[in-house]
Structure formats: structure tokens, C-alpha cells
């Protein structure tokens, strides 16, 4: 008897939108205790309206947006990650302003901490954020190649790791994930691997190796762990979702199977000309130029992942922030015996 494992697309959520309902280069998301989803939009330099937080839920109900581009309290320049504490406070890292902003779930500014530097409590490009079950906040201080740990108020507790390529070192890390067995998983973007640490900062192991084959990863941005210890990786450079078992052996991959979200259907139903032209189109095809160039393929084929930046498990659903396609793809895992 063999058990096969695969992941299946459940649905797609969101739509590209510079403002209002939708996202513009979303980078990350987090859930509050009421199951609302807070999607962090990066926006971009030439249209900063996308720099905001969009609030929605799994039924694709839209609950508004807050925050904006800028340097004032409650504003961001290059927001990169979002986490919500046990007490429902929102934390956003800004890798340009080198600070962490704390807000309420209604978008009211509470406080911020951090500044540029290499000292304790200082940052050079804060990226991934995650809370453990004791409400400690772990921050990927990516250009300093380390993880810094804070309490909920932003008081420094400890730090670990340093910049480098050896085991336990980090090079331009991006996302960070906490697993209930008191383990942290850091997406070591520059070293093309996931590194596992204890919450005390002791190196445990690394998973993945650089490459473009199925068992490889290239510049991972994020990872998530399921209840069986399987490791899901947003293989940002290969534009894939990869799954490894708890021993670190490759299980399966997915290139992306996006469908029309409810918001996308709304758009097409009110823009009939585009809808009709789209229905007549062949949106999936093969081109010679796709060989060894998944970026180019993703630019052409809409359903594929294009620069996935974040993975989150929530109530059995795996949510993948599909950044350059401005949407969230939702998957379920399926075991077949």
C-alpha cells in the first residue's frame, strides 16, 4: 500500500487594484483572532497607492483598507511582512525605514520601534515577522543576516545567527515561520535553503539545495509547516510551491493553478467586452522561450505562480501570496491511499 501526497487548488482570492478592494504587489498576509485576513500590499515606486493593508476574509468579503505610503506614523515605504500578536495587534516591518510599526486591527497607529544600525534593536532591512506561542516576536534582520527577538512592546530580548553561507548563517533571509514544536524555519533566500532553529537560536538543520530541478529551490521567500511536519516552500526563484517531508525529502511541487476569484468575476461581469474577448482566448500555451525561464512563462500564463512571496496555513488551507499576479492562491493537501 502506498500513500501519495499532493496539493490541490481550492480557489483564488483577490484582484489587482491600486486602491480599494484588491492588492497591488501583495507581499504577505496574516489572520486575526476573528479570522479576518490582513493583506500587506507593497505597491511600487511609481504607484505608491498599492502600499496599504487590505482586510478581507476567506469568503472573499471585503472589509476595507488602511495605512498608506509615506514616512509618518502608520505609513510605510517598503513594507515587507505582517504579523498579528495574540492580543490582535498588527506588526508591519518596513525594510526601507528600518522600523516595525504596531497598529490596531482597525488601522490605528499604536507605536513603532527600530532604526538603522547593527546594534541590538537596530535593523538593516527588517523583513519576515512571526510570533511564537509565548507572544515573542522574531524579526528577520535581513541585511544584518540575523534574527532578533522582541517582546510585544518592542523591547529587545535576544538575537541569533550572523551573515554568511555556513550552516546556521544567513544571507539575505526573507520569511520566518514558527512551528508548535518550538522550532523556527527561516527562508535563507541568498543561500537557497530553509534553515531550522530552536526558539533559542540553536541551529538544527537546513533543507533544500540551490537549483531549478524539482528537488531544488531557488531563492525561497517563505515556508509553512503542516501538522505532520511537512515543509511547504514558496520557491520564489522557480515560481513554484515545493513540498518536502519532515525528513527533508522532496514530496511534490505545483506551478500554480489560479482560477477566477469572486472579485475577478465581478470585474469581468461588469466589463463585458473584456470578458467576451477573454473567453475567446487561449490563455494556456507552450512557447520555446519558456524553456529554463519560468519567469517569462509566468509573465505569459496567467494561472501560474509569479514570484510567490508568502505561505500561511490557516484551518487546513494553505494561502499563497502570488505577488506579481496580485492575488492569493488557496490550496489543500490531499493524501490518497
Amino acid at each position: 500500500m502506498t500513500t501519495s501526497f499532493k496539493i490541490e487548488s481550492r480557489k483564488t482570492m483577490g484582484i489587482a487594484a491600486m486602491q480599494g478592494r484588491g492588492f497591488y504587489y501583495p507581499f504577505d498576509l496574516s489572520f486575526d483572532s476573528n479570522n479576518r485576513i490582513y493583506v500587506l500590499g507593497r505597491g511600487h515606486d511609481y504607484d505608491t497607492r498599492g502600499c496599504r493593508i487590505t482586510v478581507m476574509d476567506m469568503n472573499e468579503e471585503y472589509h476595507g483598507t488602511f495605512a498608506s505610503f509615506g514616512t509618518q506614523d502608520g505609513q510605510f515605504m517598503w513594507p515587507s511582512s505582517i504579523a498579528i500578536s495574540n492580543s490582535d495587534k498588527i506588526y508591519v516591518s518596513d525594510e526601507y525605514l528600518n522600523k516595525i510599526t504596531i497598529m490596531t486591527t482597525e488601522g490605528k497607529f499604536i507605536s513603532s520601534f527600530g532604526q538603522f544600525g547593527k546594534g541590538d534593536g537596530e535593523f538593516d532591512g527588517p523583513n519576515g515577522l512571526v510570533f511564537d506561542n509565548e507572544n515573542k516576536l522574531y524579526i528577520v534582520d535581513h541585511r544584518n543576516g540575523r534574527i532578533q527577538v522582541f517582546d510585544e512592546e518592542g523591547n529587545f530580548i535576544q538575537k541569533f545567527s550572523s551573515q554568511g553561507t555556513s550552516e546556521g548563517n544567513l544571507y539575505l533571509p526573507w520569511g520566518i515561520t514558527f512551528h508548535s514544536d518550538d522550532r523556527l524555519y527561516v527562508s535563507d533566500w541568498g543561500n537557497h535553503r530553509i534553515q531550522e532553529f530552536t526558539t533559542n537560536g540553536e541551529f538544527v538543520r537546513s533543507v533544500g539545495s540551490k537549483g531549478d530541478q524539482e528537488e531544488n529551490i531557488l531563492h525561497p521567500s517563505s515556508c509553512a509547516i503542516d501538522d505532520k511536519g511537512n515543509i511547504y516552500i514558496s520557491d520564489w526563484g522557480n515560481h513554484k510551491l515545493k513540498v518536502f517531508d519532515k525528513e527533508g525529502d522532496f514530496l511534490c511541487s505545483n506551478r500554480g493553478e489560479a482560477t477566477l476569484s469572486e472579485w475577478a468575476k465581478d470585474f469581468l461581469n461588469t466589463n463585458v467586452e473584456e470578458k467576451e474577448a477573454r473567453l475567446k482566448s487561449k490563455l494556456v500555451f507552450e512557447l520555446e522561450s519558456f524553456k529554463n525561464d519560468p519567469f517569462n512563462e509566468s509573465a505569459h500564463i496567467e494561472k501560474l505562480f509569479w514570484c510567490p512571496t508568502s505561505l500561511t496555513f490557516h484551518k487546513g488551507n494553505l494561502l499563497i501570496v502570488d505577488s506579481s499576479r496580485h492575488r492569493i492562491q488557496v490550496y489543500n493537501k490531499v493524501y490518497k491511499i
Binding site: 489587482a16 515606486d45 511609481y46 515605504m77 531563492h219 475577478a264 467586452e273 473584456e274 512557447l287
Partner: protein, 473 residues
Amino acid sequence: MSSNEILLMAHLMRRVGFGSTKDELNKYVKKGYDNQVDEILDLEPNYEVSTHMINRYQPDYESPMGSSANGATWLYRMVWSDFPFKDKISLFWHGIFATGYAKLANGYVLADQIKMFSNYGLGNYQDLLLQLSKDPAMIIWLDNCESHKGAINENYGRELLELFSMGTGNYTEKDIKEVARAFTGWTIANKDYMTAKSQRDSVWPYGRLAMHFEYKEDDHDGDEKTFLGETGKFNGEDIIEIICKQKATAKFISRHIYSFFVEDEPPVPEWPYKKPNNPEAIEALSEVYFDKGYNIKEMLRFLFKSKFFKSEKVWNKRVKSPIELVAGTLRITKEFHRPDKEQSLTNSHTQFMGQHAMNPPSVEGWHWGTEWLDSGTVVERVNFSSSKLGNVNNLGIRKIIDNIKSNISNQFTPEFLIEIVLEELGAIIVSKTTKETLNDFVKSKIDSEKDLTDDNLSEFLQLVGAMPEYQRT
């Protein structure tokens, strides 16, 4: 003053790229001029900042939604490349096959076109025209997707002959129609959806989509055509083959190459009425065009090693285009050694100076030469170069200042300081008047080595950035 070898190498590097520093020039001179030309033509560039690195921090630079990010991506490739020649070649073709965002509303297909110029721009001209005719950006820009069997749109056929190959006066109106007929069926896949998105500037539901060429046999006019005296059931490939063997094409493309790499020619619309600056050079380049099978790289190899290119008469005679000025300055200042938000703002300066990459004013592209200069753009150009060169916090400027201080040793004289500064900035040659102005400044501020402060040298570098010679290449 720099040796003639250095000055010649500086001229070459300004024309094939965006200028070189003193250290680079010394290294290239040791290789020898002809070897350096061959390396430039034959080597693939390396980029200090990878595509992945750019995309991580500035996602729109590589998957552009809007009109400016693709230009910014390209500008920073020019800055981060060890040999930006291929990007210079792309810039050359972009000026001729000018295609713009205004009609396409899709940055990705424009970025794809620039990559195509980089891949095919040094090869056979016939191949390049073929790729151009299949390029989705061009197909939309000049409406070839709206040209059908029995209902032709002449736009692409006309510009292919007038602006992309032969120039006016070398074909008839009937020839234009026959070209349009031959290119019927050359369109883009999912044309209705792609053009609907472009026309509505739609990013919905999930952003822009890249496009690709599609040939529709059932929409192609396969009947007999007569073009430039030849008759047959021509398709687009046949038309391009006939175009490429015309003397007019050889001269037209030779004049473009001469104008971009040697000295400014008048704008293209004036070519039928004005002789080339150097008819012998155009003739010689045309011969190479035929002798080397329409190969652009071999035409350039001949040009860079020619007497007319090496002649001091053409040194510093071209006005830098805004992109050349900005890219060249940023290569000196080295301020963006990693992706930074300020890049986008800095890229915008090319637009303020009159050259918005991938958004030319019309199908004719930009008018080069002194037409870059008017009272507004001159102020913008001078302010930009002065402020950048005068910022001692920029890595490249810091190094230049340190070099100046160490090289001046105990030999300070105003003349020696001026010489060292001009060498450091890429062996710039200045007129007697400019030298007097620089000399006056030095005498008013710097009496001896102890006055070689950051502030004084910053002010001096700002003055150099404002000189007319810095605005030329």
C-alpha cells in the same frame, strides 16, 4: 594631460558605452585599442546586481505594470553592467524602432522588445527586421494586428520602408500596399483580448500579460504581389529579404550607425534633402554591410577601427542623450550598488530632460543632437550632473576625491589639479575657455594642498559637471 592613447580609448568607451574611469582606461589601453574593440563586440556583459536582486526589492522593475519601471530597469542595467555595450545597442535600436507605452499600456511587452534588441541587435539585419516584424509591441504600435486579407492597414508597411530600412524616395505608394498585403496574418495571439486590455489600460483581473507572435494563415493574403520590381506570392520574410538587398537600405542603416556612434546627423526627415556629414564613411559602411552579409557587428567592428571614428575631429562632438548623461554619471558616482528606492526618482530625470525610455514622442523616436538642448533641459542636465558629481557621499565620488588627494602628493599647481580631476572623470577634453574658468575657480579657492578639502573638491566637481564638455560625448 592624458596621452593620446588614453584620450582615444576614452572616446571609444564613451561611444560604445557611457564612459570609463581613469583606472578602467589604463587597463584597456594596456590591452591595445583593436583588442579592446574586439572584446567589446564579442564579450557578454556581467551585471553587478542580478535580476533576482532587483525583483526582490522592486517587483515592478521586472514585471512592469506601469510606464516608467521598465525604463528604470533598463537604465540600471546600463549602470550595473561591466560592459554596457549591449544595452547601448538596444538604446540605438530603440531610437530607430521607437515603440511607446502610450498606445500599448503594457510595460512587459516593451521590456521584451528591448531584450530582443539586445539579442538580435548585433546580428544580421535581415534577422533583426524579421524579429521586429514579429514583435508584439511593434505589431500593436503600428497596427499590423489590424491589417487583414482584403482589408489592409498600411501603417507597418509604410514605416518599415520609410523609417526602418530604406527611407523616403526609394519606393512607391504601391510598394507600401504590397508590403502591407505581405504582412497580413502577422499578428499576436489572443489579439482581441490583448488589444482590449491595452485600449482600456486594464490591469484586471491579475495584472498585465506578456504577449507573443502568431501567424494566421487564413488571414494572410497569399496572392501574387509586385514589390520593388520583383513579383511573387510574397510573405513577410520575402519582403524583408528584398528590402535587405537594396543599396538604399545599406546607406540608410549606415547613416543611422554613423549618426549614433560617430557624429550627429540631422533628423531622419531631413535626410532626403541633406547629404551625410561624411559620404565616404557611409559608402564604406555600406560596402561592409554587403560584404559581411548585413552583419551589424561587423559594420561596427569596421567603424570603431576606422580613421573617421578615431579622428579627433569627432571627439566630444555628440550631445549626450539624457539616458547617456544619466547612465554615464551614475556609473561614475556608483551610488546604487544595491537596489534603492531613490533609483526611481533618479530615473525620472531622463524624462525631465526629454527622453522617457520606452515612451518616445512618436514613431520617429527622438531627434538627437543639439535638439536635446533647450533652456529647460539644459538647466535640468546641469543641475543633475553637478549635484551628482558634487555629492562626496557617493561611493564613486569618494574614491575620486581620495585619488585626487593622494595623486596630487606634493606637486600641487592649479593646472595639475585640473588635469587630475579631468583624468579621473574619464579623460575629459576641455576647451581653452573652460580650462580658464576651472583655473579661475581653483585660484580663488585652492591655494595649496591644505585647501583640498571635501567641500572645495565637491564644488570643483560640480563646476566640471556644469561644463559644456561634460554634456557631450
